[in-house]
Symmetry: C2
Subunit: 127 residues, 2 copies
């Protein structure tokens, strides 16, 4: 009976892949209406749960909790101490998460060019 | 009683926008696990309903029908006569749809760099 497959502390759960296609595998992780908006907010310097819920799209808190957990499992986001010194956690992007910047840029540029009435409203938060 | 808001032949249904953010608006249209895989197949020269269902991810036919209808409504895809001369339709990307190539490229590159075991398998179909 080997225990090597379940190390304590290993929390990564690999999702079932639909194919080895890198596009499909990326969409398995970030292919939904909300995840990349959380990445956007993190890139803009937001870090706390309440920062994300304050964004104009109004993400439901149950969806936010689910997506943050998945992003943690996938090493796209990591937990850090809250900036106010409270017991709550805050979040920041890992290198893997920062690398999604090009994906967000491409989607933003497509929206700006092809979807009428879109405009960049959110500004980076001062630290 | 004005009729100007409902012209016959106008089939576009604008989805409810969550914000004017171009990223959020783009995700309202293509933010799911399947839509960009259909765009991938179209960019690779596939055009028929059965071509899309034959891709390795195995898209369910009800989801494929729903996504193709949405892509038609949004002028991302257009219908063309089937290449075999049958009564069925085929599909091709509009200019707006082709412009999503940069989004797919960014997601593919991120997957290739950060997700182990991914590889580019699908080749462009010969016409």
């Amino acid at each position: 009976m080997s225990k090597t497959k379940r190390k304590s502390g290993a929390r990564r759960i690999e999702p079932a892949r639909r194919s080895p296609c890198p596009l499909a595998c990326s969409l398995d992780l970030v292919g939904d209406r909300w995840t990349l908006l959380i990445i956007r907010d993190l890139l803009l310097g937001r870090s706390r749960f309440r920062d994300f819920t304050a964004s104009p799209e109004g993400i439901p808190t149950n969806i936010l909790s689910d997506r943050l957990e998945r992003l943690l499992q996938q090493d796209i986001v990591e937990q850090i101490p809250a900036p106010d010194g409270s017991k709550r956690f805050a979040y920041r992007l890992t290198e893997k998460g920062h690398a999604l910047r090009s994906v967000l840029g491409a989607l933003r540029d497509w929206g700006l060019e092809w979807l009428k009435g879109t405009q960049v409203l959110l500004e980076p938060k001062r630290r």
